[in-house]
Assembly symmetry: C2
Homo-oligomer: 148 residues x 2
């Protein structure tokens, strides 16, 4: 299975050490450059307040199946975390769409490194992607606290 990027993400985060742990909460603005050949696929996207951005964790190498995160002092299964180190290094963030200019989308809350290859954009649809009654397992209540 081979993928080729449809664009590239320009973000304020130049290296992994500077990536915020909860970037989705941040006010940092990123620019998603969709390659011009795909621009027509963005038609009508301005009507959506949020989009789902899928990208390639291009700095990720290898993975462990048990992961210690900043949110807990015991390890948990990789697939219960959002660690970038995964067998398929696919990243996913729901972001706020702030503006569009031609093939450039200005978004808020994208916690991806500068230069990250963009793979896909999907509309975030109320009632489809949103679940109101959710149990977040070991992460429950932890994200609001200080990191371990």
């Amino acid at each position: 299975m081979e993928l080729r990027p449809i664009g590239v993400i320009h973000s304020p985060y130049k290296d992994t050490q500077k990536l915020p742990y909860q970037g989705y909460k941040g006010k940092g603005i990123s620019q998603i450059e969709v390659f011009e050949e795909f621009e027509q696929g963005l038609q009508d996207i301005e009507g959506f307040s949020h989009i789902i951005v899928i990208y390639w964790f291009h700095k990720s190498e290898g993975y462990h199946l048990l992961v210690k995160t900043p949110w807990d002092d015991v390890p948990h299964g990789l697939f219960t975390t959002r660690s970038p180190h995964r067998p398929c290094p696919l990243g996913l963030t729901v972001v706020k769409l702030v503006a569009r200019k031609k093939n450039i989308l200005k978004v808020r809350g994208l916690d991806a490194l500068d230069g990250t290859p963009l793979l896909d954009i999907k509309p975030y649809i109320s009632g489809v992607d949103e679940r109101s009654v959710v149990k977040s397992g070991w992460l429950e209540g932890k994200l609001g606290r200080k990191r371990c």
Copy 2:
């Protein structure tokens, strides 16, 4: 960029003609088989009520940048739709985790074909993946109605 699947989806939907248009609403149960070598990565997943499943649209061939969907009679940009025909044929569904037995996850609301290659599983996290004030552009109010 090359991907290899981490599992396979066993679902009641045997061919594309029988796929429900709003499968996420359905009561159909699918079984996600995570290959045994990755089973440890599922540790503690039972605590999560919902997970994000990312898969490969293996029956998808080619794409158009403007798409007519069953929800409207005019075409819209591909990236404002969830069409399986995309430059990177990645599918994404938020599903209810019903049960786990070893490396098998029983889920509800997964609208993927039987035999679909599984690429990734991520925890659905309240407050991260959930947005309560959402504008759904041209799709607003349409999903509840009859298809065109």
